[in-house]
Amino acid sequence: MNLRQIRRHFVSGLMTGVVALLSALACLALFLILANLVIKGASSLDLNFFIKDPVPAGQTGGGVANAIVGTLIIVGLAALVGLPVGIGAGLYLAEYGNGRLGWVVRFVADVLNGTPSIVIGVFAWTWLVKPMGHFSALAGGVALAVLMVPMIARTTEEMVRLVPHSLREAALALGYPRWRTSLSIVARTALAGIVTGCLVGIARIAGETAPLLFTALGNLNFSTSVLEPMQTLSLQIFSYATGPFEEWHRLAWAAALVLMGLVLVLGAAARIAMRQRQ
């Protein structure tokens, strides 16, 4: 080997090391965030944290029961509104989406997917909160649904398109009407994939804060009325993290750990659903 060759091989080895190091660095970032969540949050997770409402500023103790229930209600509302529309639009794109309207819907879904969530929040405020005259959990749920629909539509389309044509043809040949073919053969075959897409979508909106700032607003008290302001974990973390009290910061870490846990459980469920497909 002459000197030039040695240098070339050295550079190759060096760069291999560099890209490996960069990968390690990216993994380290995740590790650092999760480790901090556990270290700073876990010690505050006692029973009170889950069953009590926040106490007035300055006092210690209290929990985030209202925020946990609120998160579940608002995410549930969003799923209730968003999933049928998203899945329906996805089925449309897969079944009838080769024409011009399909192209338009696909393009619009991609545009909405890239829209900043704060813009969706402002939009929901103008659309729902302003005419209704007050902030409400309902408006928050709809804002999250708007965020979710394009995501669900695109994944549903992709999953349905993976179903082999022969299945559909077999069903049609047996005399099934098209709508039954589509629902009980095609969509049914793609079900695991669709469920995965839905779970991923729900996991993504569960941690959203920006669209809720001017819709669900947040609430210091326990509330299950969807027509009133409601607290969520993400809103709680935001106000506690930016507040001045140590006690609040402690609770913010604990709430973040719970929220992260919720998102991870949904993500894990999505993985399991995906495995069923294969």
Binding site: I33, V111, G114, P116, W179
Partner: protein, 336 residues
């Protein structure tokens, strides 16, 4: 004597008719159930364009007073004075672009490294786990990033990063001024971590879509493995990687909570990355519920409109680039 065929062998026709899509449309009227199903799905699908139209209409209508009052000056003006009723969004637009570009400067090498390592160098058993861990970064809620930024990243920057940085580079205008903690730098780093999974995932799909003949040809000519990557694989995937980068930019531009929590929220245009700044999304998040006058509210709506327009253009451009390279793979849509 036989002659070698000089004409190129006709390539097999590429557009062989695949299995034909059944033309359902023509026969939609055959069965009542079919017709109902078709109409129902169409209505649900139309909800999307409908939403976009309503969104655009409401944004434009709500920001109309501000558009009329300030015109284009809204974009250049740097006065943001709710009391006096003058609004110019230049500092926020600057802050949005600056924080996002800073994030790209950090995130692009990082995610390109991840993508190259995962497609070219990593041992097989390591690929899936590393890809999973990097993807997990996208699952962390924005507000949790913000929390981590305030209580972990900023103290770390203050104690270990900024002093040496200033000792070495303090003479450049980029690192002048007092470091309070909340700053462009903190926002850039947080944004970088947040967009790495997106850029890395799309870049990886793009690099995977590069034909292996490309690699093999370079290696066959005696290139080292790195030279093969650098001279044969990356140039082939370049438009796609640029697309992935721009996609990351689109994400960074619209990011709200994490940035709001660490950027310092000051209406100021400065070149120092140690100074606090402001972004469009952060301005809306902070000031929307405090906007007391109609003009103020309208100005914030216009900020939202500008942000929306910028992200639409950026995303459309990114998609175009990715789609050109990764045609056939679902790279574009899967990662979005």
């Amino acid at each position: 004597m036989t002659t070698l065929p000089l004409e190129p062998v006709p390539a097999p026709a590429e557009d062989l008719p695949g299995p034909q899509e059944p033309t359902w449309k023509n026969r939609a009227g055959v069965n009542v159930g079919d017709r109902v199903y078709y109409v129902l799905l169409t209505v649900l699908a139309l909800a999307l364009p409908g939403l976009l139209l309503v969104l655009l209409a409401l944004l434009v209508r709500s920001s109309w007073p501000s558009i009329q009052r300030f015109g284009l000056h809204f974009l250049w003006g740097s006065d943001w004075d709710p009391v006096a009723g003058t609004f110019g969004a230049a500092p926020m637009i600057f802050g949005t672009l600056a924080s996002s570009l800073l994030a790209l400067v950090i995130a692009v090498p990082l995610s390109l490294g991840v993508a190259i390592y995962l497609t070219e160098f990593a041992p097989k058993w390591l690929r899936q786990p590393v890809a999973f861990v990097v993807e997990m970064l996208a699952a962390i809620p924005s507000v949790v990033y913000g929390l981590w930024g305030i209580f972990v990243l900023i103290p770390f920057l203050r104690n270990y990063v900024v002093p040496p940085l200033r000792a070495v580079l303090g003479w450049t205008p980029l690192f002048r001024g007092v470091f309070y903690g909340s700053s462009l730098l903190a926002a850039g780093i947080i944004l970088a971590i947040m967009i790495v999974p997106y850029i890395a995932a799309v870049s990886r799909e793009v690099l995977l879509a590069v034909p292996s003949a490309q690699r093999e040809a370079a290696l066959g000519m005696g290139a080292t493995r790195w030279e093969a990557v650098w001279t044969a694989v990356l140039p082939y995937g370049r438009p796609g990687v640029i697309g992935a980068t721009i996609l990351g930019l689109g994400r960074a531009l619209g990011e709200t909570m994490a940035v709001t929590m660490v950027i310092g929220n000051r209406h100021d245009i400065g070149v120092s990355v140690l100074a606090p700044a402001y972004t469009m999304a952060a301005a809306i998040a902070n000031e929307f519920s405090e906007a007391t006058t109609n003009l103020y509210l309208s100005a914030l709506f216009e900020v939202g409109l500008v942000l929306f327009a910028i992200t639409v253009v950026v995303n459309a451009f990114a998609r175009l680039l990715i789609w050109r390279v990764a045609k056939g793979t679902a790279a574009g849509s899967r990662a979005l």
